[in-house]
Symmetry: C2
DNA sequence: GTTGACGGACGTACAGCGTACGTGTCAGTC
DNA sequence: GACTGACACGTACGCTGTACGTCCGTCAAC
């Protein structure tokens, strides 16, 4: 028996196996062993199916939030949970990012994150701004990681940075070894720590106001 | 006479006017008053055309770098220059983000940014990590701004957050007014300042190493 | 002036796409 | 038995990217 979730799962599988470009209603139907138009009994159109895929992927994020942990650790855990799913469904993640997220699937993560930020001492608009900034960093990082890994297209040779004129681009040239290689885990953790530290400073300033201006 | 740049410009215009989904070789050709297949004399295929669009948009970023300014101000200026282009070509920017950027068009910005970071006192891998983190934040922010603004699809009603059960999502519910509204300029500057401050702390720590571990 | 080569614009054709519409087959209810 | 709804399916239409062949304007060689 066909169902919306079976269709979504098959679509995600297809995306991960053959890439987002390979996704067509006919391919999905073939994968399920049904006719094309049968899908439309459960999904209004392809755009809605892609939205459902986004929702499905986002809902897979596991937020094992430990309220007793320090808020900095909770931030770290939540960020890594996001990233883990993105790495598990890299090509589908690109689909998520390329679409509007206007669904309530991501509401639980938001609730958890806001709760964490409140513990950190952020109130009202400040908490929301912090959350948005954090999400921006995570999304931007994952877009790079997932776009670079063999996700959407086969990786091209890294000769692009090798044949750079050192006279024109001295910095790029001298930092070439760092630019060509990239330990994604390390990069992510680096930015994560920087953000957590920046938030700690900000939190201390506004919450405890410890020895500031005094 | 047809040319690659004329095709790219027409494509960008079309994307901005009617959205990325409306882009087809036939539409572009019609906009230029030529036959479809004439395009293929200048562009190998549609994917290459989209890559050319990315390159074109990225190359429009104006980096009026002032080496005499303080590095923090240079960082701000560079980030805003990026954002300005994204706002000028919002729908095309989505195309840029959805593709692999593997072109040398973004090399000048990279050079400028690395130079700025060197002035800030970052060396080697640290500079590259800072750059990547910064780009991640900017890209993530723009993805949200540009994805929310009437860019890809018409904006949906903001009733998604209104009908939230306060018992299930207390934080989301109480912060609803902050979550539904969003001053993008303010948000961007907020994160920008936070990052610049975080970088300043880091720069002071590793460059001057003033009174650390002492 | 004629000829040949060639680059570029173009038309045709084909496979594949999303999906509107109609049809057939069941399960459940009177 | 008849009626009803849900659901799987086939057909068909307009669209897509693009391979291929054709035609024409320009220019070099003779």
């Amino acid at each position: 028996m066909l169902s919306r979730s079976r269709i979504v799962d098959a679509a995600v599988d297809l995306i991960e196996r053959e890439g987002a470009d390979a996704v067509s209603m006919r391919r999905i139907a073939a994968g399920l062993g049904v006719g094309v138009m049968s899908l439309y009994n459960h999904v209004p159109n392809k755009a809605a199916l892609l939205d459902a895929i986004s929702e499905s992927v986002l809902s897979k994020i596991e937020f094992t939030d430990d309220p007793s942990a320090h808020w900095t650790d909770r931030v770290r855990v939540q960020a890594r949970a996001f990233r883990q799913i993105a790495h598990h469904y890299p090509r589908s993640t690109m689909v998520v990012f390329s679409r509007q997220l206007h669904s309530t699937a991501g509401l639980l993560p938001v609730e958890r994150a806001l709760s964490t930020l409140r513990d950190a001492g952020f109130e009202g608009g400040e908490a929301v701004r912090m959350l948005r900034m954090f999400v921006a960093y995570i999304v931007g990082s994952l877009l790079r990681e997932v776009g670079v890994t063999p996700t959407f297209a086969p990786v091209r040779g890294d000769a692009t940075v090798v044949d750079v004129d050192p006279a024109l681009f001295p910095e790029v040239s001298s930092l070439a070894p760092y630019l060509t290689s990239c330990d994604h885990d390390e990069e992510f953790e680096f930015g994560l720590e920087l953000l957590v530290q920046a938030m700690s400073v900000r939190a201390g300033k506004q919450a405890g106001r410890r020895s500031a201006r005094g």
